[in-house]
């Protein structure tokens, strides 16, 4: 599974925490904190659906506002929330008792350069998926760069353990079939939390299955092929979780309801990935509120150091 999303998502839960992360790679996603980790008593810890009562009477809401708020509160529809919360809780337990302790052990016994090499190796294995999807999205330039990066890193970079392509300006990107479907105009479909793999959607889960076809090791047919595949996935899971140790800790400390946070972050991250990170500044939300200085109120003091 492509997990660059997860690195960003977990990092973004704590503002600016994502600085720290190098992009780890293809692997099952770690489970996250469960609602029982929430700090504060007002968020129910059980996975039951939210109450259906209407908002307080003094809260007026037009259809347009409701639509706007729906879009931001759940950028992705979640009709299976009770089921998803149950899976989320399972992932959290698996993380607490198996995945996180293993990742801490991995960090303890390996020097940083070894972990970087492992991350590079795993990222390189994902390049054929990116290449195939860039072709399917009609992006020959990006596909060419991905092919170049794969060739350079596989050869000069010793089977992908090093990343010399980076210094040649061939920046690593990740594309998957879920993004390809999105680029073709397919909507996300319902939100899904997959066991051990984490946040997804119907569209992106379909993409995961298709991406297997673009993964070279799917076609390895040696005696050791099954062990190799299992090994790559297990190492990938541990390496990804290791890279997320601090940021997951930050989530546990700062998010009142990680389930909700992950769901909306997933929506934002996938929408921007489908746009290849292009941001339409005209489409960003408006911040209304008190009048600005030029809207009739007294001018504010500019901040210190301002050089207009």
């Amino acid at each position: 599974m492509k997990t660059g999303f997860l690195v960003l998502v977990v990092g973004a839960l704590s503002p600016v925490a994502a600085f720290a992360q190098t992009a780890p790679v293809e692997s099952p996603a770690p489970a996250d904190t469960g609602p029982e980790e929430a700090q504060g008593a007002a968020v129910p810890a059980d996975p039951s659906p939210p109450p259906q009562e209407p908002a307080q009477p003094d809260v007026t809401q037009s259809d347009a506002e409701a639509q706007d708020d729906y879009a931001s509160a759940a950028t992705i529809p979640d009709p299976f929330e009770p089921f998803n919360r149950a899976v989320f809780g399972f992932n959290n337990v698996a993380d607490r008792y198996v995945i996180e302790p293993t990742a801490r052990g991995y960090r303890a016994v390996t020097p940083r350069f070894v972990r970087t090499g492992v991350n590079n190796f795993l990222a390189n294995l994902g390049e054929p998926i990116t290449f195939a999807n860039e072709v399917l999205q009609g992006q020959p330039k990006r596909a060419g760069a991905t092919l170049g990066r794969f060739v350079v890193n596989t050869t000069i970079g010793v089977a992908g353990v090093m990343n010399p392509a980076q210094s040649m300006g061939l920046e690593r990107r990740e594309e998957d079939f879920g993004q390809t479907l999105g680029a073709w105009g397919v909507g996300s479909g319902p939100y899904l939390v997959l066991p051990l793999l984490g946040p997804s959607s119907l569209r992106d889960t379909t993409g995961l299955v298709v991406d297997r076809a673009f993964t070279p090791d799917t076609y390895f047919d040696g005696e050791d092929a099954p062990e190799y595949r299992i090994g790559v996935n297990v190492v990938g899971a541990i390496a990804t979780r290791e890279a997320l140790l601090e940021t997951v800790e930050n989530v546990r400390n700062s998010s009142a309801d990680p389930y909700v946070t992950f769901r909306s972050l997933y929506g934002q991250a996938r929408a921007s990935a489908i746009r290849n990170g292009r941001e339409d500044v005209e489409a960003l939300p408006d911040f209304d509120g008190d009048p600005l200085p030029d809207e009739g109120a007294a001018p504010e003091e500019p901040a210190a150091g301002y050089e207009g």
Binding site: V7, Q39, V59, D288, E295
Partner: protein, 229 residues
């Protein structure tokens, strides 16, 4: 031929820029002013976190002061409530209380998390982008944040600009490759989900946010104590 064409374009661009300066008398473009604003203010907050000789209270007060100057916290505090902001605006007492609670929360979140990024250099990338939405002027300024031993990281600052060219930050995006998360937008999603589950009860949200703030402050204090000890 290609070189000649390119040279012509360069000259044309130069003369166009020169003519603009003559006509407007304003060599600094608006987006350059936005970039300068970020360049001058963003590193100050990080510097306050690592400044030697401050007590924990002094550090918190200094960081809070810088944050309040740099970001439009009252405006953000209402944005993150989405449609529930209507109820808060209608009740001046509740509005004032929510602003205080959100301000403390936002400052604690950033002080807690940015602590890991002491010594980070903020490099402003040229080419900010402007947009006018409902008569308000916004600029998005991209920066690269460079910490020793870490991969450079890109953050984008969304500024609300008045016509008198004062700025305030209203949102920050973190970007990794092609994935972008706007933090105020994300915060709004979380708060809205909470309010929906609690029948729009802003006072319940205030209680919850206060608890989170207290917890973060305790962690910050513990860390400070550990450093001194």
């Amino acid at each position: 031929m290609g070189i000649v064409t390119k040279s012509r374009r360069v000259f044309a661009a130069f003369w166009a820029a020169f003519a603009m300066i003559l006509l407007t008398g304003q060599p600094a473009r608006a987006d350059e002013a936005a970039e300068a604003y970020v360049r001058n203010n963003a590193p100050a907050a990080l510097a306050a976190l690592s400044e030697e000789g401050l007590s924990a209270q002094e550090r918190q007060a200094k960081f809070a002061q810088l944050m309040e100057r740099f970001a439009d916290l009252p405006r953000i505090s209402e944005f993150v409530l989405g449609r529930y902001a209507t109820a808060v605006r209608a009740d001046p007492e509740l509005r004032a209380e929510w602003r205080r609670v959100f301000r403390d929360y936002a400052i604690a979140v950033y002080q807690d998390q940015l602590d890991q990024y002491r010594g980070t250099e903020v490099r402003v990338l040229p080419g900010s982008r402007d947009a006018t939405i409902n008569g308000r002027f916004y600029s998005v300024v991209a920066t690269e944040l460079i910490s020793p031993g870490r991969q450079p990281f890109r953050a984008e600052w969304r500024l609300l600009r008045s016509r008198d060219n004062t700025f305030k930050v209203v949102d920050v995006a973190v970007r990794l490759n092609d994935q972008v998360i706007w933090l105020a937008t994300q915060q709004r999603s979380d708060f809205l989900a909470f309010l929906d589950r609690n029948r729009g009860d802003v006072r319940a949200l205030i209680t919850n946010v206060r608890q989170q703030t207290d917890s973060m402050r305790a962690r910050i204090a513990q860390r400070e104590q550990g450093r001194r000890g």
